[in-house]
């Protein structure tokens, strides 16, 4: 058994975080790697417990690069992951922006208002970005709101949709096919190539959803250049 996901991708499974902080250990390892600037590391993808490190085939012996990476990650074991700022995300939970809100409520045994309150009252942590440019995997969803994905994914989930997939929460930065349950929509752009960094959210950032009404949503959406 080795730790290679493919011939040039090292896969480090950092296990469950004992404190229940989930992905924090992976982010701390990713931070340590970024600081160390290891020659031959082409890319790093943190996730819930796995860190995927792409090694440049032109950088000589991949095992030598991997040894350096493993040592740095081991050394980061006690390191605290950086905690980012709190980003407020305005969300309209009203129709027509929340097609699955009633479903989520029914399954949770709550009213739609209670679902909105439960969704918007928490502080979430951006565990990592993945699936699409700027798509945040958020930790901290109220467990009562966990809802399985749609049996048949939508061909097109509108851009900005705020959604629940199992126990995961996220926001669609682009109109994409998807099976997560849509409970609201944000007028904010989650990914803009004309700014640096292009993603609104970064791993380690904290997120709060702020309910807005449809009129406010439409004004904010129209106003964004």
């Amino acid at each position: 058994m080795h730790d290679w996901a493919s011939d040039f991708r090292l896969r480090l499974d950092l296990g469950e975080d004992a404190s229940g902080g989930g992905s924090a250990r992976v982010r701390a390892a990713a931070d340590a790697l970024a600081e160390a600037r290891v020659p031959g590391v082409a890319d790093v993808v943190p996730a819930y417990r796995v860190l995927l490190v792409t090694i440049d085939p032109e950088a000589g012996d991949p095992e030598a690069v991997a040894d350096r990476v493993r040592a740095i990650v081991r050394g980061a074991a006690g390191r605290r992951a950086a905690v980012g700022p709190v980003i407020e995300i305005p969300v309209c939970y009203q129709s027509p922006y929340s097609p699955d809100l009633d479903d989520v409520a029914d399954r949770a045994g709550l009213t739609p208002s209670e679902v909105v309150a439960a969704h918007a009252s928490r502080e979430y942590r951006v565990a990592f970005l993945g699936f699409a440019p700027g798509f945040p995997y958020l930790e901290g969803l109220d467990p009562r709101l966990a809802t399985p994905r749609l049996d048949r994914p939508r061909v097109r989930v509108p851009e900005g949709s705020v959604a629940i997939g199992g126990a995961q929460a996220g926001i669609y930065p682009f109109a994409l096919p998807g099976g997560w349950r849509v409970v609201g929509r944000t007028p904010l752009r989650l990914f803009r190539t004309e700014v640096d960094p292009p993603a609104l959210l970064a791993p380690g950032d904290r997120v709060r959803f702020v309910p807005i009404d449809a009129a406010r949503f439409e004004r904010m959406h129209a106003g964004r250049g």
């Binding site: 058994m1 080795h2 290679w4 996901a5 493919s6 011939d7 040039f8 991708r9 896969r11 990713a30 082409a42 890319d43 790093v44 993808v45 943190p46 996730a47 819930y48 417990r49 796995v50 860190l51 995927l52 792409t54 085939p57 991949p62 990592f128 970005l129 993945g130 699936f131 699409a132 440019p133 700027g134 798509f135 995997y137 199992g166 995961q168 930065p173 682009f174 994409l176 990914f191 190539t193 960094p197 292009p198 993603a199 791993p203």
Partner: protein, 318 residues
């Protein structure tokens, strides 16, 4: 500055360069040419840097008119192709054979004769804006390339013409590339969740001959064939998914992730195609048979080193 007028582009035809690696942690796949080997060799035929943008033409071909003279080459799989002079006269345009297109001339790329993709490399530079450091197109999210989308009839792509000399590949070199880009089996190493599959399922995976589905594209090659069983009932936590990873979703039909594949995913991975065989994914045509053979990490890395040596050896003679 010249212009390439797109008269027909059903391919899809996408502007691609060598890609934008390094943004996977933002959820941005590397994209770029699905077959970077052909892009490299083709570009160097016409005196371009190996990573310069080209037009990646798939399956249904396209027709491109030039308003000023240019040198160009088709690099990759063989398509029916010809150059049309302003007079209407036509001459065949063979694969890997650099040719001059006069002002008012056209390059026609017609039907597939072998694999699924070919690169139209034009000497000089296609003037396409860069996004996150690359002119590559990631069409699912409208990033980069020509306005984030495939080319279509009426588009006019500006280009700064390069030199008028170029070279063609020898028949031996063309044959060597063909066997590299259209291998009989795809070599794989063990996938990250290999242990989640029953041994019989893994055996079945390696013994099966799958067929490439019509639903395949740069995001992934979807395979039809025997369903692969997943042993563990629990779902997997989302993690980074590299191009070449062979995922098995519910239903058991494997997907081989491509250059536009999502950077993370939650489906178990049974295998991973080796780097040396990734360019071959670009040339799979719906209906093609696909078989997988396990190889060791050492052999996989050796195969890539050999591939790179072969490609470097196809440099332009001085």
């Amino acid at each position: 500055m010249g212009r390439i007028l797109v008269e027909r582009a059903l391919g899809p035809a996408l502007i691609q360069d060598a890609g934008r690696p390094g943004y996977a942690r933002l959820g941005v796949p590397a994209s770029g040419a699905a077959d970077p080997v052909s892009l490299d060799v083709g570009n160097r035929r016409v005196g371009n840097p190996a990573a310069a943008p080209a037009i990646e033409i798939a399956l249904a071909g396209g027709t491109f008119a030039f308003d000023s003279p240019a040198s160009a080459v088709l690099a990759g799989s063989e398509f029916e192709a010809w150059i049309e002079e302003p007079s209407g006269e036509r001459r065949p345009l063979g694969l890997w054979r650099t040719a001059r297109v006069p002002a008012g001339g056209r390059i026609h790329v017609g039907g597939v004769r072998g694999g699924a993709r070919v690169y139209l490399c034009v000497a000089g530079r296609l003037e396409v804006p860069t996004v996150l450091g690359s002119t590559s197109t990631y069409p699912a999210c409208g990033l980069g390339g020509w306005h984030g989308r495939p080319l279509r009839a009426g588009d006019e792509v500006p280009f700064a013409a390069g030199g008028d000399t170029g070279s063609s590949l020898s028949d031996d070199a063309a044959a060597a590339l063909r066997s590299l880009l259209r291998p009989d089996v795809l070599r794989v190493t063990e996938g990250a969740q290999r242990g989640a599959f029953r041994p019989e399922s893994v055996r079945g995976f390696h013994e099966a001959t799958f067929r490439v589905s019509r639903q395949s594209d740069r995001t992934g090659i979807r395979l039809e064939g025997p369903a692969i069983d997943i042993e563990s009932a629990g779902s997997m936590l989302t993690e980074g998914t590299p191009p070449g990873a062979v995922q098995v979703p519910p239903g058991g039909a494997p997907i081989v992730l491509g250059v536009d594949g999502p950077t993370t995913g939650g489906y178990p991975m049974i295998a991973a195609v080796i780097a040396a065989d990734l360019p071959a994914l670009a040339h799979l045509v719906p209906g093609d048979p696909v078989r997988f053979r396990t190889t060791t990490l050492d052999d996989a890395r050796r195969a890539l080193a050999e591939l790179r040596k072969l490609v470097a050896g196809l440099g332009v003679p001085s």
